[in-house]
C-alpha cells in the first residue's frame, strides 16, 4: 500500500480503526475508505450513501451499501452494534446533524467525525478583508451550489461535545498535507474527532 496516495483524513481514520473491527460508514461516498479498511485491516464494513453513482461504485468494489439518507436515523441497528461509526465530511451535509451524531453514538461504541473548519485563517481573511463568504480547500463551494448545510468551527464542535456530554477521545487537526498541532482553530482545514458517550 502506498501511504502517500491515500487522502490524509482517510489515513488518520485508517490508523484509528482497530483491525478486524465492525464499522458503519455514514455517507460513504464511492467506498474508497471502506475498501481501504476492508482490504488492509480486515474490517467488516458497511456504508450508507444517498448518491446513485456512488452506490454503483461501492458495489463494483464488492462493498455492502444501503442507498438512503442518514437523516431518517439508524433504527435497524441495535445499540452498540458497531465498533466504529464514521461520519467523515458528511455531518455538515445532513439536515439533522445533532440527531445523526446521537444515532451514531448509540449504534457505535465510538464515533469518528470528520469536519471542515469554517474558522480557518483563509476563511476569516476572506470574510474580514474581502467581505465575501469563505471558499477554502476544505470548503470549496460557492454559496449557490454547496451541499453543506451546517457551517462550524473546530471550537464550535468542541462546545457542542461538552454540551452533550460527549467525550472526545482523540482529536486530529489537518492541514493541507500534514497533521497540525498549533492553534488548530485558526490553521486546520479539517478536523477528525474520535468520540464516545
Amino acid at each position: 500500500m502506498d501511504r502517500d496516495s491515500i487522502r490524509l483524513d482517510h489515513r488518520i481514520i485508517y490508523q484509528t480503526v482497530e483491525p478486524g473491527s465492525k464499522v458503519l460508514d455514514l455517507g460513504c461516498g464511492d467506498g474508497e475508505l471502506m475498501l481501504l479498511l476492508a482490504r488492509e485491516k480486515n474490517v467488516k464494513v458497511q456504508g450508507i450513501e444517498i448518491d446513485d453513482e456512488a452506490i454503483y461504485k461501492c458495489v463494483e468494489k464488492g462493498l455492502s451499501v444501503f442507498h438512503g439518507d442518514i437523516d431518517s436515523g439508524l433504527v435497524e441497528y441495535p445499540d452498540k452494534s458497531f465498533d466504529y461509526v464514521i461520519l467523515n465530511q458528511s455531518m455538515q451535509q445532513v439536515k439533522k446533524a445533532d440527531f445523526v451524531i446521537q444515532e451514531g453514538l448509540r449504534v457505535g461504541k465510538k464515533l469518528i467525525v470528520g469536519l471542515p473548519n469554517f474558522a480557518h485563517l483563509k476563511a476569516r481573511s476572506r470574510l474580514f478583508f474581502r467581505g465575501k463568504v469563505p471558499i477554502t480547500k476544505s470548503l470549496p463551494y460557492h454559496w449557490y451550489d454547496t451541499p453543506n448545510l451546517h457551517f462550524l468551527a473546530i471550537s464550535d464542535f468542541k462546545d457542542y461535545c461538552a454540551d452533550r456530554n460527549i467525550t472526545i477521545l482523540n482529536a486530529y487537526y489537518l492541514g493541507d498535507k500534514k497533521v497540525l498541532r498549533f492553534r488548530p482553530n485558526l490553521f486546520a482545514l479539517n478536523a477528525i474527532f474520535v468520540l464516545t458517550k
Partner: protein, 375 residues
Amino acid sequence: MTKEKSVGIVETKYFTFAEHSHELRLESGKTLGPITLAYETYGELNKEKTNAILVAHALSGDAHAAGFHKDDKDPGWWDTMIGPGRALDTDKYFVICSNIIGGCKGSTGPSSVNPKTNKPYALDFPIITIADMVKAQAHLIDHLGIKKLLCVIGGSMGGMQVLQWVASFPERVKSAIPIATAAKHSPQQIAFDEVGRQAVMADPAWNEGNYYDTGVKPERGLAVARMIGHITYMSDKSMEEKFSRRLKEKAYSFKFTTDFEVEGYLRYRGDNFVKRFDANSYLYITKAMDYIDLSGDKLLPKGKHADVGFLVIAFKSDWLYPSYQSQDIVRQLKIKGLDATYCEIDSAYGHDSFLMEVDEETHLIKHFLNKAFRT
C-alpha cells in the same frame, strides 16, 4: 438482440416427483402429487457444484428465461440478463429457471390432468403458496445434485420466492437478489389482485373454473385482469412517454371504440395474454402472492441461522411495489445482522423496470455476483 450473444437454442426439460405415496405436503395441509416441473438450464454446473443460480419468475413468467426455442423469433423473458458475458454470465454460472407449481407453462397447475379423475384439476387443485412453490423447486435442485445455490434471484413474485428460499432453506442459499418485491402484500396489492380475480370469475365462461372442455375460455375476464395488471406495471411517466393522448385515428370516433393508443395497447396485451395463460392459474398465483407474509421475524425466525448475502433492488417509479417495501426487507436483514446492499434505481418504467434492460440493474447484479462467487 442477436442470437450469437445469447445462450442460443434451448429446450425446456421436465422433472416429475412426489409420485404415489410421496406427495408434497402443502402449507394448507393438503397434499399434491405427482408434480411435474418444467425447467431450463443455461451454462455448465462446475465440478464443485458451487456456481448454480436459480432464477425465479414473476406472475406470468415461465421456465424459458433465456435463449431461443427452436423456430422462435423472441428470446426468453430475461434474455438481456442471462447469457455469455451478461450479468448472469453463462460462461461462469449454471443458471436454472423453473416454472412454478400452479402455473400453466409445463409445471403442474390447475389446467393439468388430475391423475385421480383423468380430467383437469380446475378448482380441485389445492391452493398453493410461495412456500409451496419453493419447496417444489428444492426438489428440482436436489435432482440436479446441488446442495447450495450460489444465488437465488428474481423480481416481483420472483423476489418473494427469493425471500422464501432464505426463510425455508437458509443453509442452501449463499446469496439472494430480491428485486422490486415485498415481504408481504399490502392491502393495495391485495386489492389489485382481487379485482383481477373478480374480473375472471365474473366472466360467465369461467363456469366455476370448469371451462377446459366447454370450448369457451373466460377470455374477456382474464384479458381485463391483465389490462389492470399492465396499468400497475407501468408508471405515469412511462405511459405519458409511450402513449401520451395519441389517437389511433385522426379524430375522435364519438363511439365506444378504441380512440386512444393506450386503449389499443391494453386491449392488445390483454388479448395476447389469454392465448398463452390459463385463467385458473391466474387465480391461484395471485392468491399465493397475497398470502405471503415474511415481514418482521418471519423472514428469519429466532434461532435460525443464516449466512446469506443480499442485494435488494427497488425502482423509484415502481408504485406497485414501492421502495419502502424493499427497505423494510433490508431493515429486517440488518436487525438480524445479515450483509445487505440496497439500491433504489432511478428508472422511469415503473414495476416493469426489472424486466427492462436497465444498465444500473445489470451492473449491480454482475458485480454483486462476482463477489459472491469469489468469496
